[in-house]
């Protein structure tokens, strides 16, 4: 959290929910006097354009959606009906007209559906069930007012042979008129929009074509954009009854390549692999593409989702289980309920079941890959091990299958758990990165193979490994465990070097560090700094209060339980041996302090001000001392 400014508001988490609960309560208890909300239509349009809809060309989606629903309704009346949608672009007039041969509207329907916000024509009035249609909120037509000052809609209903052709004109101030036309028109609807000056850029043939393709490229009706007498097909009219990712018409061997090419073309990026997705509950059919990169931490994968073949959004977030952020999907679904903002589905039981079914598709793919192509799995692991670890923690079977492939950092380098277990019959690991750093070098010197389980999920995974594979013991080691394994000096050696130990301890007295003399490998390592969690916390407290005022310094000192870290001097190291035998006590203490600082730096510990001064004074002193002639070297203070 950065510093709060004067205008920053600091709230407890969930405060808003609380305020809302209070508000609801108040509303329940207030005396009942009924009033009616006043809706400001232009304000509502502003709300839609600036907050609900994320793209200015959303009117294309809404009109395609209405056309598609109208044709779906007409299909229910006449099975043999052959629907189509045409978009006519008129550059000169900055106008675009959407024409469909769907079910059309009667005058009564115009009054009801076009003039009442929130009243969708698909709420059980049209033929069939509401869920057969794409639009359900009754606010779609308002999107047109974002780009046009008037909507002109001409329609003739197919429900009755005598139905007249009608013209409806609506304006953003909330007024509209309806006129009966004399023209003999076929059933269907046309909607004509003339662009506001600031929206003219959206009404070019290229832009309209691109938007129609983006939103309606998967619709099951042929769509054409006509401009100056030339027509261009938005979708493949030969394949309007299958999805563009449907590869069933190809031999099995060619399907993967087809899917990969479709993914590359439609999402403009290369993927690692493609996984067919099916969920009966959500009516989902599509493809999940495995990302060929490691997604950013905390990122959510966003999916391109078509709802009943109309693009809902290309950034839907909650279609897959939360752990599945290693894939990006293109799917069509028919049974899920989108939120009004269209970037997510309602969190209901159906979505939950759908997530489980789609999760099973991904899991089955991974399981199959582990059996069929381990090399490919290892490549996938390189990108997505975090996701797979999270999944493994939730699923024992998955864990058993994937555990061997988990990448691990050991003091001998990076490998997989399987390779580690080929070298070892048990797992030794550290629960923290700092602990690993302290242990790594010395453990390697002793031939001990230690895993760094300090990274996210690793400690839990190691624990789980021990539970699921009891024949392979898992042991968490602390730096102090390694310290205990270091070789002690003989009693005689201890006694002989008692003086050095006292000097060293006294030199480190103020740094909450205990000096010990041991023998360990590698011999070129003069010291080993070991600190457990309590000592680290104690150190953090000391460093944090170095410069604070006396009041706070006293308070913290009173509550702090100083926990010493330990520094082991290596009796097997030549420098340490010479140091132990040096007659100049003052010099010995300085070098002890410098070795202490060096050990901290090797352990990546930030230095306190006092430790920094120790380092700097010590080095200058040493340089000065070494420049003096042998005979004139004084005792060094």
């Amino acid at each position: 959290m950065s510093g709060l400014g004067d205008n920053d508001v600091v709230l407890c988490p969930q405060k808003y929910s609380y305020l809302f609960s209070l508000f609801s309560k108040y509303m329940k208890e207030a005396p009942t006097m009924e009033h009616r909300f006043q809706i400001n239509l232009s304000g509502l349009i502003d709300l839609l354009s600036n907050h609900l809809y994320t793209r200015p060309d959303v009117f294309v989606r809404e009109l395609l959606q209405n056309a598609s629903d109208a044709m779906q309704a007409r299909t229910r009346l006449a099975k043999e009906f052959s629907g189509s949608i045409e978009l006519h672009v008129d550059d000169d007039m900055h106008a675009v007209k959407f024409v469909d041969n769907g079910i059309g509207l009667t005058e009564d329907e115009m009054h009801r559906f076009l003039a009442v916000i929130g009243e969708s024509s698909k709420r059980g009035v049209w033929v069939g069930q509401a869920q057969d249609y794409i639009g359900q909120f009754g606010i779609g037509l308002l999107a047109c007012f974002i780009v046009a000052d008037e909507i002109e809609l001409v329609s003739r209903s197919a429900t009755s042979p005598d139905a007249p052709a009608l013209r409806w004109r609506g304006r953003p101030d909330g007024t509209y008129d309806i006129a009966v036309l004399d023209d003999e028109l076929p059933p269907g609807t046309s909607v004509r929009l003339v662009a506001k000056p600031e929206s003219r850029a959206l009404f070019t043939a290229d832009k309209v074509f691109a938007a129609a393709r983006y939103y309606g490229g998967v619709l099951p009706w042929p769509i054409q954009v006509t401009h100056k007498g030339n027509s261009k097909e938005v979708n493949d009219s030969e394949r309007t009854h299958s999805f563009p990712w449907d590869a069933s018409h190809l031999p099995v061997s060619a399907r993967k390549a087809f899917l990969m090419e479709f993914g590359r073309r439609s999402m403009d990026t290369a993927f690692f692999d493609a996984i067919p997705l099916v969920s009966e509950t959500g009516g989902v059919n599509g493809v999940a593409y495995v990302l060929e990169r490691t997604p950013a931490h905390n990122s959510k994968s966003k999916h391109r989702v078509y709802l009943k073949r109309m693009l809902l959004s290309d950034s839907v977030e909650n279609l897959l289980p939360p752990w599945a952020f290693f894939v990006q999907c293109v799917v069509n679904c028919s049974e899920l309920r989108p939120t009004a903002a269209r970037n997510a589905f309602h969190q209901d039981e159906k979505l939950q079941k759908t997530q489980e079914e789609l999760g099973a598709c991904l899991r089955n793919y991974l399981v199959d890959l582990a059996k069929r192509d381990p090399a490919q799995l290892q490549k996938l692991m390189a990108y997505h091990h975090m996701t797979l670890k999270a999944l493994a923690l939730e699923d024992d079977e998955f864990f058993k299958l994937f555990a061997p492939w988990f990448p691990v950092e050991t003091n001998y380098g990076h490998s997989t758990l399987q390779v580690y277990l080929e070298r070892n019959q048990r797992i030794l690991c550290t629960a923290g990165v700092d602990a690993f750093r302290q242990i790594a070098q010395i453990a390697a010197g002793q031939g001990i193979d230690v895993i760094n389980a300090g990274y996210v999920y690793d400690a839990d995974l190691m624990t789980k490994y021990g539970e699921l594979f009891p024949l392979t013991p898992v042991r968490f080691v602390e730096p102090s465990d390694i310290g205990h394994q270091l070789q002690n000096l003989s009693d005689e050696q201890e006694a002989r070097h008692q003086n050095f130990m006292e000097l060293a301890q006294s030199a480190l007295e103020d740094f909450a560090c205990t000096a010990k003399l041991k023998v360990f490998e590698p011999g070129d390592l003069p010291t080993l700094f070991v600190s457990n969690r309590d000592a680290n916390i104690s150190r953090q407290m000391t460093v944090s209060t170095e410069h604070v005022d006396d009041l706070w310094k006293d308070i913290v000192t009173q509550v702090q339980q100083v926990e010493n870290s330990e520094i082991y001097f290596n009796y097997g190291n030549a420098l340490v041996r010479r140091l132990i035998q040096h007659p100049d006590a003052s010099l010995v203490q300085r070098i002890v302090q410098i070795l202490y600082v060096q050990a901290l730096l090797m352990g990546h510990y930030p230095l306190s001000s006092r430790e920094l001064s120790l380092m700097s004074d010590g080095l200058s002193g040493l340089l000065e001392w070494s420049l003096m002639g042998t005979g004139e070297k004084p005792t060094w203070h």
Binding site: M1, S2, G3, L4, G5, D6, D8, V9, V10, L11, C12, P13, Q14, K15, S17, Y18, L19, S21, L22, K25, H297, N298, A431, G432, V433, D434, G454, V456, N536, I537, Q540, M541, V543, S544, T545, H547, V548, D549, L551, W552, K553, D554, I555, V556, Q558, V559, Q560, Q561, H604, Y605, P606
Partner: protein, 380 residues
């Protein structure tokens, strides 16, 4: 100006960002933030050092590492005082509300020091021309911790008379404190009535209802409404079981099981959370956990008077675990002797703490708490 190490800055920020995935009280969160503080210190960037310490401070406050929270707060406040060009002086006002009520929980912090920090907090709010509501509210909390209920009420009344501004606790947190104050004053009926929105889930926050439910159970128990308290036990324990910050509440729930004479359940919970007794630093919290253990051991001994003490598996686990923390009984000691020795050690340790707290507070509030029967409020 020292050069900043951008690699370490990026590392610190990345670690902070990763830590956001974990809940307060999880070891992963603390570990990531400890590493963030180290990386920030290596970076030399004061802003990132503040950012990392501020995050770690929040985690320390909400995970029961109060002593570390005090040190980190001291650092953060010092930086806002000395480097206002980098860190806004208001940045530390909100955390100061967490810090003040922590101080009386440590017996070694003197009344003079508590008063000085309280006065400093008031001065800082005044300097920013802010409402005194949080200052009075936190003073009230300090007095409540010390069992000085008259002053606690007086400052709470003063607090709520002040206007709310952006530094006021949220309504749920304020309401939560007000009902706990009622309970501490012995006004149980009023407390339970006022607690209804919290019980119904209409008022909630990051620690509400966690900190309220065991207290509500206690008030219900005091009024003989034991069935209602029983109904709340599971909901309550689920909320507090994973965070050391709730040590006192877990201790209360152990006492509840003792009062219900469900000693095996009490022992299981007591063993499960025993590591907290070692890790937690505030004396007040240590005292509460020891008191729960003491009540449990007394109840075990009392039951043995009726029926001789059987060395059951749960009893052995409890005694073994306690002997890992306190002194072990001589080898081959029978369970009754082990219980007696542990009871005596825990009583001694507990009374040492209560005496220190009461000496500082110049009253006998904690000693009376120690001697109160299991799962009862001490009379104000």
């Amino acid at each position: 100006m020292a050069l900043e190490n951008t690699t370490e800055v990026a590392l610190a920020r990345s670690l902070i960002s990763q830590s956001e995935e974990f809940d307060h009280g999880s070891s992963e969160k603390a570990d990531l933030l400890d590493r963030a503080v180290m990386a920030a210190d290596r970076s030399g960037s004061v802003a990132v050092q503040f950012e990392a310490r501020n995050e770690r401070l929040t985690e320390a406050v909400f995970s029961g590492e109060d002593e570390l929270a005090l040190a980190l707060f001291a650092w953060c406040q010092h930086i806002t005082d000395t480097r206002p060009d980098i860190i806004n002086q208001t940045s530390i006002l909100w955390p100061s509300k967490w810090i003040l009520p922590m101080l009386p929980e440590f017996s070694r912090i003197s009344q003079k020091q508590i008063d000085a920090i309280g006065a400093d907090m008031a001065k800082r709010f005044e300097a920013q021309n802010l409402s005194r509501r949080p200052v009075h509210a936190k003073r009230s909390e300090v007095y409540a911790v010390q069992g000085k209920m008259q002053q606690a009420r007086e400052f709470w009344d003063k607090a709520v008379a002040e206007p709310r501004d952006r530094y006021a606790d949220c309504a749920a947190c304020e309401h939560s404190y007000s009902i706990r104050l009622l309970a501490q004053e012995g006004r149980y009926e009023e407390m339970i009535a006022a607690a209804q929105p919290i019980l119904d889930g209409e008022m909630f926050c990051s620690q509400v209802p966690h900190i309220d439910l065991p207290q509500i159970m206690l008030a219900q128990y005091a009024l003989g409404r034991k069935d209602e308290a029983r109904d709340l036990y599971k909901r309550s324990y689920r909320l507090v079981r994973s965070n050391m910050d709730y040590t006192q509440l877990v201790a209360l729930l152990i006492e509840f099981k003792v009062a219900e004479n469900e000693l095996k359940d009490a022992a299981v919970v007591a063993v499960r959370h025993l590591p907290w007794l070692v890790q937690i630093k505030p004396d007040k919290l240590k005292m509460h956990y020891m008191r729960a253990l003491h009540c449990l051991l007394l109840a075990i001994a009392d039951n043995a008077k009726v029926k001789s003490l059987q060395a059951t598996e749960w009893l052995n686990s409890l005694l073994d675990a306690l002997e890992g923390v306190f002194e072990a009984a001589p080898q081959n000691a029978d369970p009754a002797l082990r219980v007696t020795l542990l009871t005596s050690q825990i009583r001694k340790a507990g009374l040492t703490i209560t005496a220190s707290l009461d000496t500082r507070n110049v009253n006998d509030y904690f000693s009376r708490q120690w001697h109160a029967p299991a799962f009862t409020y001490v009379k104000p």
